[in-house]
Amino acid sequence: MRPPSTDVDDTRTMTLEAFADTIVPGEKRSPDDRAIAGATTGGGAVQAGALELLGWDATGLTEGLDGFATALTGHATAYALEHGLDLDPAVPPFVSLAFEHRTALVRRLTTPGHPEKELWVSLALFCNMAFDSAAHMSTADAIAQGHPGLLAMGIEKPDADGRWRFPNFSYGRPLARLHPDTTPTGSPS
């Protein structure tokens, strides 16, 4: 097991990783991985580069990451108290929560009416984007490098010039009757 973390950055990283992993869960990177809960197989948001994306100031969230991590620590501590859960002091409080509790807490923070909802939604949005679009790197490179999100979704490889073209795209036959009131311009009447 890892020694207790005293490093602020490490605390922040682990907390944010655990949040990203709650949005798009992945497989543990090693048996003693604590940030990733290991709720699914295959890479999740963390492996997909969520922390890299959040660390890029183009997102507008970078400067607020300390605040996010601190707030998540506070919410996790309160949540644990409320549910009578013991927190493991070896890891940050949010990381210490079991996956279903992490999920319940993120649901609460992103529910309409929660005063901090907008902030947590924007964090979640970029975590999801790291997985479904690898927004921190060029898409063609991401695919070439085996990006776990784009691969899991089955995004096709582009042509050699980095562009997609699909010469086969149509079943090529009529598949329904047209609406009887269609005008000659092809519009509804």
Partner: protein
């Protein structure tokens, strides 16, 4: 003292409303300047790339509001650069709608019959193709076959796409690299420039004030071309006529901010906003059933698994566009593609209890992304949106370098709108869950509110000054010489894609703008042909001009 520039006509925004006004006024002889907030990108610039900072994020704008978020264009050409080019006309009953105001919301002078000649003018200017079944993508074909199986009809949608150039890459939202999509960059805008109109990209208009000679002064900031959070110098331009066409999410904000300098705005500025009743459903397709039940098969033995392939909407079901049905029960259902990034986050897991837009099950459906079919509903909403006090600059507080901002729109759907969405949800389920073809779930409204790419009505035309900001010729009530020609002028939801109707109304507004400009001493005439020189549309509207040129 810095000297202020002068022009005859200043156009704010270069989307459909702005480009059409700029073209006609420049072709008629006026000096025209267009101020556009976004960059000026063309075919070569349009990347196939989701990386932040590629054309995908430079060219569009996502503004999160309270209960409603708006996705729109942010570049020269506006929404036409990022749109899916579906260009149907609105059905006849739409113009008779009452909505929440208890009387016909459209001006008496506008109906499908009086608008058809203007639709024709647009169709002559923006080449629109009636797609046939060979153009219909796998996704559209699947939707058509499912509609047919459920006893419904389905139509290929008219679209502004040059079929000979389209490679079905499905990157339309990042701008079309192949110039297959007939955006305004290929028709009205180059024609406007050829007639001397000046386009200034990266100029964000903040407010308008009056000049001593009865004209207007437009105040702008120059934006950084990469990081839109950064602003450069500010400036002003004086004009005799101002045409505001910044889109329905931005036009009312400019006017609200101008209240301090122009005086009171009509009550309807920033009210009655409609998201065109949009809502999205994701169907997770059962590939085996598609083969067994619908008999569909494509190359390599696949049945569907083609979510990435194609273009925007190609097939719509118009069975519920039936004027004999009561208001709020009419809607269309259109197959659509939304790319990753903004196209997956709001999708929910079919059958889930409780929020499921993130987590383990959501990841499982992401893995089946190739088998997604997205269905777009356009219902009759109730114009519920209201804009709160404007932010310091622009129309949103920009969060990320590009794309993401927080706006002031509040949208709280009424029971009629919620019921209409529920009816449309049920219809989609009935069609697509039949015989196990798919499992369907609507996108959540709990994360960023409802989601619209079709903002409308925030500054609408009408006969009643209490519920319309513009008269029926698009002039801002109480502020002669200011016209609004974009989607904000459209009085309500259209049940179909709006660009064709926005454009037809803009074409219809031109004779009145020309007349107002002439009254203000601008030497300008009405009557330019279509951008490519064709003239049949001009003949079609000739009988309508006298009534539109008179006040």
């Amino acid at each position: 003292m810095t000297s202020t520039e002068r022009t005859d006509v200043l156009v704010v925004g270069s989307g459909f409303g702005g480009a059409i006004a700029a073209y006609h006024l420049a072709a008629g002889g006026a000096r025209v300047v267009i101020l556009e907030r976004g960059p000026w990108l063309t075919g070569q610039d349009f990347d196939h790339d989701f990386k932040l900072g590629s054309s995908y994020t430079r060219a569009f704008d996502f503004t999160v509001g309270d209960g409603m978020s708006i996705l729109g264009g942010n570049c020269v050409g506006g929404g036409s650069v990022v749109y899916f080019a579906a260009m149907p006309r609105a059905p006849r009953f739409v113009f008779e709608r009452h909505g929440g105001i208890g009387r016909r919301m459209w001006p008496a002078s506008v109906s499908r019959d009086t608008l058809d000649p203007w639709y024709d003018r647009v169709a002559e200017s923006i080449p629109i193709t009636q797609q046939n079944w060979d153009d219909v993508t796998y996704a559209g074909g699947l939707w058509a076959a499912a509609c047919d199986h459920a006893g419904r009809t389905a139509n290929p949608v008219p679209a502004a796409i040059d079929r000979s150039k389209c490679v079905n890459c499905n990157w339309m939202m990042a701008g079309c690299h192949f110039d297959a999509k007939q955006s305004l960059l290929l028709n009205y805008l180059p024609a406007a420039v050829a007639h001397g109109a000046e386009i200034r990209p990266l100029h964000e208009v903040q407010q308008i004030s009056r000049t001593d000679d009865g004209g207007y002064r437009v105040h702008y900031d120059v934006m950084d071309d990469e990081d839109y959070r950064l602003r450069g110098e500010s400036g002003t331009i004086d004009a005799k006529i101002v045409v505001i066409a910044a889109g329905a999410g931005a036009t009312p904000v400019i006017l609200q901010r101008s209240e301090a300098t122009l005086g009171a705005m009509p009550h309807a500025v920033g009210r009655y906003f409609s998201g065109n009743g949009e809502r999205l459903n994701t169907a997770i397709i059962n590939e085996d059933k598609v083969r067994e039940v619908l008999g569909l098969e494509r190359e390599n033995g696949l049945a569907y698994a083609a979510n990435q392939i194609g273009k925007g909407p190609v097939v719509a079901s118009w069975d519920r566009l039936d004027g004999s049905l009561p208001e709020f029960e009419r809607f269309s259902l259109e197959q659509l593609y939304f790319p990753p990034g903004l196209g997956t986050i709001l999708a929910e897991v079919p059958g889930a209890t409780g929020p499921s837009w993130f987590g383990v099950d959501k990841k499982e459906i992401l893995k089946r992304w190739q088998s997604w079919l997205i269905i777009f509903q356009m219902i009759e909403d109730n114009n519920e949106g209201v804009f709160g006090p404007p932010p310091a600059k622009g129309n949103a507080d920009r969060l990320s370098q590009q794309m993401l901002g927080v706006g002031r729109l509040k949208y709280d759907p009424t029971p009629q709108t919620l019921r209409a969405w529920a009816l449309a949800d049920a219809e989609v389920k009935d069609i697509l869950e039949r015989d196990g073809l798919a499992e369907v779930a609507a996108w959540t409204n709990d994360v960023v509110g409802a989601y619209t790419v079709h903002p409308l009505s925030s500054c609408r035309i009408g006969d009643d000054p209490a519920t319309s900001a513009l008269d029926d010729r698009n002039e801002l009530r109480g502020h002669p010489g200011i016209f609004v020609t974009d989607g904000s002028a459209v009085p309500g939801a259209l049940t179909v894609n709006p660009a064709m109707t926005i454009s037809a109304l803009a074409e219809r507004a031109i004779p009145g703008i020309v007349a107002a400009a002439r009254e203000r001493g601008v030497d300008v005439t009405y009557g330019a042909p279509a951008p490519d020189g064709s003239t049949s549309g001009r003949r079609g509207v000739a009988p309508l001009i006298p009534s539109l040129s008179r006040r």
